[in-house]
Subunit: 188 residues, 2 copies
Amino acid sequence: MEQKMKPKPRERILQVAADLFYRQGYTQTGINQIIAEADIAIGSLYKHFPSKSDLLVAYLEMKENEWLEDFEKFCKGTDNPKELIIKYVDFRIEHQQNTAFCGCPFIKIMSQLDTTDDKVQQIVEAHKSKQKALLYSFFKQIPDIGSWDKKQLSENFFVLVEGAIVTTTILRNTQALESARKFIKKII
Amino acid sequence: MEQKMKPKPRERILQVAADLFYRQGYTQTGINQIIAEADIAIGSLYKHFPSKSDLLVAYLEMKENEWLEDFEKFCKGTDNPKELIIKYVDFRIEHQQNTAFCGCPFIKIMSQLDTTDDKVQQIVEAHKSKQKALLYSFFKQIPDIGSWDKKQLSENFFVLVEGAIVTTTILRNTQALESARKFIKKII
DNA sequence: GTCTATAATCTGATAGAC
DNA sequence: GTCTATCAGATTATAGAC
């Protein structure tokens, strides 16, 4: 049995769309570009994804799953909570380097769309809440630290990293992320 | 002499475009919508702004000037550096409340455009550098604080607020900004 | 400087043959 | 499932009259 080189059409569409949405932006990416780069017929695209916004939702759900999987892999073998907190920054530093400082897919999408109370808002919110909860679960496991409240500390650290990601895309270097890393290492 | 109610065409265009670019996004806003809402002819628009991207640059430069002016007004009468640092957060909290959590115009634009090394990148970078320098000038004036390096502290605080702004637009409340405010108040 | 009219192109989406 | 052909509307931008 020979293995085909190209993935199945649906996967190809999603992969190409994901790449373009992330790099160019959702509104700046047209259906025509997607079908051209995925080497697919337009009829096939609309068979798999009834509208462009359906494709957007599929893209975000894919990113969500990817993130969790990749982060778990990245932390494999580590169970020290302090190390895990640092791993969280390291993971995001690595991701920004690998993507040429393209930023966070979820934050970018929120900036691109008009703020309507739709499904996208919900997905982004859920994603960020999950990250925040994950970080808090690490902070809860470390011994008490001075007069710091762990809940507050973990939330501010989460927000600090969010800001560092954004700053990273503006300045096109990882300085803000490295600085956030030092900051939290000093505290915990 | 009677005062006309409407501002001059150029100002009207810029004001309408600014509002739409900020709320809807740059790519999502068409020339037609701008001329309709500004009640202007399309020929006039292209007389004042040869292209849509010229309008974008003018919009960002306007926001830059507005920010500095408004912040100075907001700080009028305050010269205590610790107070000024808190004022910086308060100013941005107020701005987010006034704009229904639309976020930072500069961060939003960066997320909307393909990362090309153009004028926009330059304007955004300059704006953020100016903010960072302003904050550092406040931190330098306060007495030594524990084992904290003021440069590092001010940079991380700046980044923290950036993250809080972004988080604010996702969760549609000022919690992250309030939390950042408490955090820095505790340290300084 | 402002207007109307329009060019040339691209948008997301649909229909129907194979 | 894939293809070609096409829709209706929106896109940025230009030309020429007033």
